[in-house]
Amino acid sequence: MADNHDAHGAEGGGGHGHGHGSPFIQHHYDDAKHQFDSGKLGIWFFLTQEILFFSALFVAYILFRAHRPEIFRYAHHYLDVKWGAINTGVLIVSSLTAAWAVRAAQLNQRRILIGCLATTIVCAFGFLGIKYIEYTHKVHEGILFGKKFDPCISSGGAHLITKKNMCEGTKASACSPGDIDQRPDEPGWQVACVAYEVHVKYDMVQGTEDKVTKDPKTGAETTTQVPVTKEQKTEVSRSELPVCQMVSHGAHGPPHPENPPCWEIAQNPNVCKPDEVAALVHYPDEEKRGREVEIDLQCDPAPKATDQGDIFASTSDSGHRFGKPTFVSQSKPSKHDLEMLEAMGPPPEHTNMFFSIYFAMTGLHGIHVLFGIFVFIWLLIRAIKGHFTPEYFGPIDYAALYWHLVDLIWIFLFPLLYLIH
């Protein structure tokens, strides 16, 4: 019955047979070649499928790059060509060993086969290791996809207001891009709060900011506490309600409408040292808004905020007006980074899209690599058991073909993501 032609029975032994000798030739095939050819055709169909599977991401990439080239030009600075190039090399090496493994299996060179398979696995792990380094680096810097994109230190586009000894390192807050965008006309608007990392909340950005533009007011200053919503709390996981003080010179009336609702308080001890904190203010549209923001920042710290510490503010494109910018990440930016950031200017709006695509593409590719590792480990075990013979080496060939495709995709991803000029 069905189970009899399950090839991987208990009798795993080294069937160095000829013709029908291999125990792995399944019942319903005419002979070894028939099985091999069928499998090969199958894997080619599978690879075709894979091309289409990835194609959608390439479509997204091409579309966004074609229409928003400035995002790509800007964002690629965040990627490190060095790591990308090393990973390309690693994958090519593993591709070679995978191809060689096929040859070894065909020629019954068991030792070489095992060596090649092992090397492939090691390279694959190396690849993932490097990806891990890159990913964690980005996580630390807040260079993430979608709404999580908010670079903490790479603030070429962000004004940095750094404060020392403020809030004992626990309170943090910042203004999301919307704030400044929305309040260009208000004089004396100030930020006196601290931030480690900025999360722009989805629903807040979605529909709640516009009213600020609608009623610009003038008048007295107000200080308000920004409530934290439920979602934020789960993200922040802190016991006390952070007090974020946003001081608005020249605003009056009921506090709420004047306060930008898009505040987010977050804490990430990995990013910032406890005694150094920074508030980031983005201005997505430099030409229109940039100057006003600068003017805003020249104002003195609001009275209610000053008692908490000094404010050093810096605007990267207009010189260090308030003192040196203090970069507060554990992974300190290099000199090169700083120069680069100076040159880059503010990020275009929706720079996050690049990282959405970056993470989608490399993530999906990474999953493929991971899957490949499992397959190769399985092959390695079988190779050690001596399952493969010149009549039966199909699985190695198929896995190698799959692996080459994974390599191929990386060959395209590397220049597309890392080597943008």
Binding site: S38, V59, H350
Partner: protein, 555 residues
């Protein structure tokens, strides 16, 4: 071979028993049967949702449920019917059972992969059930962004899209398996143009499954990631493009329509030739048109998006390309009609379904022209006209052909006959019920009744009522059909080897087939040659030449 009913070899039911022998089986027939069971159950579930939708629409305003529940009903109806019933219907269930036998092969190329596809299907189905438990999706089966990005609905959408992702891979692996099987397991002497048309259709279908489904996979995967990580490729608030989602989605989902209809065309070709006792008219044209439909399927997805904010240029190109699809479809209809010409038509249940198919498909196809014409589509898009059109194509044609094929091959793979008179009655019931359901919808649609409406203007009441009554007739007929099919497993008359006089290879296999289908290698006869077959009472149809040989042996 020939009179093999008395083979010593046990048939595939008898080979082994017990739960494990089914759960771990690698036999394509058992896997196919398990699919069939799952699909019939899903059909009833999806049908129940459809009836609930129709009953709600019996009167304007709230009839039995709120708008929210109604939205879930039609979403689930769509998702279940499309992903769980029609797409796997003919290929995965009937194709699995019949494809190797029609090829004269012992099994599909990759039996383990086949079993895995089945379990993927089960997983996908389970995830959809989970999504119902988690609050149920109400996005429509199309999951259009940004509506489907609503974070408050994540709990239901995440399992649903992941389920669809898994189902997609089930479909891909099935297609891959069939492609390789057809390539590598044709018996000596069977060239591409000696293949039964059903196999051509399955080949074309599998090609689309392999090429189009991965795009669905990545699309729903992205949707999944949007919900878990909010990466924003489709989210306009983050700079994404919601119209892009529709491109992604329809790149798959248009071919998906052909994944549903092309195998239906395949089985109908078989049914019509067998029951008119005539070779198919214009074999090559039908074969080519199957493959060309498969290729053209990739060029026309934009016609789902004429008013979506797609550009005028794209609208023009897609409209023009869409018309090309009409041509192979028209060829097929003409050729089938010509096959009937001067035939000896027997109106048994499968043939009734095949003829229903012809009529329904013609209506479905011709109304498709309205939707391809840009000027009229703008008016008709997203109205009941579209609803009626695609039901004519997908249900009226796809499902009716599935039922025809089911009745046609039922005796072969179960070894039992279904009750013929009841079958004919239900076939007529399905036809009448179907038309009563959907013809009024064409009229409503052309008068501007938008789809997915829980409530409607009173002027449409009459049409909605007709439609609901039709749906009830349809539902009852389908339910009775499923019941008598299951009952026939126990009560049915034992089936002869060749009850319909089919000339293709599957009728040479024992009834029901043995484990590897053919105890002796089958003989390759000329395709669709009925001159040799004669009726022999309860023994079904036999070949004259072999009867003579057997007689000669005896004497």
């Amino acid at each position: 071979m020939a009179s093999t009913t008395a083979t010593a070899e046990p048939n595939y039911f008898e080979v082994s028993k017990g739960f494990k022998s089914w759960a771990l089986t690698l036999d394509h027939k058992r896997i196919g049967l398990m699919y069939l069971f799952g699909i019939l159950v899903s059909l009833l579930v999806g049908g129940a949702f459809a009836l609930l939708v129709r009953i709600e629409l019996f009167s304007p305003g709230e009839t039995i449920t709120t708008a929210q529940t109604y939205n879930r009903f039609f979403t689930l109806h769509g998702a279940v019917m499309i992903f769980l019933v029609i797409i796997p219907g003919i290929p995965a269930a009937l194709g699995n059972i019949m494809l190797p036998i029609q090829l004269g092969a012992p099994d599909v190329a990759f039996p383990k992969l086949n079993l895995m596809s089945f379990y993927l299907w089960c997983t996908g189905a389970a995830l959809l059930v989970l999504s119902i438990i988690m609050g149920s999706i109400d996005t429509g089966w199309t999951f259009y962004t940004p509506y489907s990005l609503d974070p408050s609905k994540s709990a239901a959408i995440i399992p649903a899209v992941f389920g669809v992702f898994v189902l997609g891979f089930s479909s891909i692996f099935t297609g891959l398996n069939f492609l390789v099987t057809i390539h590598k397991f044709r018996p000596a002497g069977m060239g591409w143009f000696q293949m039964p048309l059903n196999l051509w259709a399955l080949y074309a279908t599998a090609l689309m499954q392999v090429l189009a489904t991965p795009v669905l996979g990545i699309t729903v995967l992205l949707l999944f990631v949007e919900h878990t990580l909010h990466i924003g490729i489709f989210d306009p608030t983050l700079g994404g493009d919601p119209v892009l989602f529709q491109h992604f989605f329809w790149f798959y989902s248009h071919p998906a329509v052909y994944i549903m209809i092309v195998p239906a065309m395949g089985v109908v070709s078989e049914l019509i030739t067998t029951f008119s006792r005539k070779p198919v008219f214009g074999y090559r044209f039908i074969a080519y048109s199957s493959v060309s439909l498969a290729l053209l399927a990739f060029l026309v997805w934009g016609h789902h998006m004429f008013v979506s904010g797609q550009s005028a240029l794209a609208n023009m190109v897609f409209s023009a390309l869409t018309f090309t699809v009409a041509i192979p479809s028209a060829i097929k209809v003409f050729n089938w009609t010509a096959t009937l010409y001067k035939g000896d038509i027997r109106l048994q249940t499968p043939m009734l379904y095949a003829l229903s198919f012809l009529i329904l498909f013609t209506i479905g196809g011709l109304t498709g022209l309205f939707l391809a014409i840009l000027a009229t589509d703008v008016h008709l898009h997203d109205t009941y006209f579209v609803v009626a059109h695609f039901h004519y194509v997908m249900m009226g044609s796809g499902l009716v052909a599935f039922l025809g094929a089911l009745h046609y091959w039922w005796p072969k793979f179960t070894g039992r006959m279904y009750p013929e008179r009841l079958g004919q009655t239900c076939a007529v019931g399905v036809f009448i019920g179907f038309n009563l359901t959907f013809l009024p919808q064409f009229i409503m649609g052309s008068r501007g009744m938008p789809r997915r409406y829980w409530d409607y203007d009173p002027e449409f009441t009459l049409f909605h009522r007709l439609s609901t009554i039709g749906a009830l007739i349809l539902g009852i007929s389908l339910f009775v059909t499923v019941v008598y099919l299951f009952a026939s497993l126990k009560l049915g008359r034992k089936a002869p080897q060749n009850p319909w006089g089919g000339s293709t290879m599957e009728w040479q296999a024992p009834t029901p087939p043995t484990l590897y289908n053919f105890p002796e290698p089958p003989v390759l006869h000329e395709l669709y040659d009925y001159s040799d077959l004669v009726e022999d009472g309860d023994n079904g149809w036999v070949r004259k030449s072999e009867q003579a040989k057997a007689k000669a042996k005896e004497s």
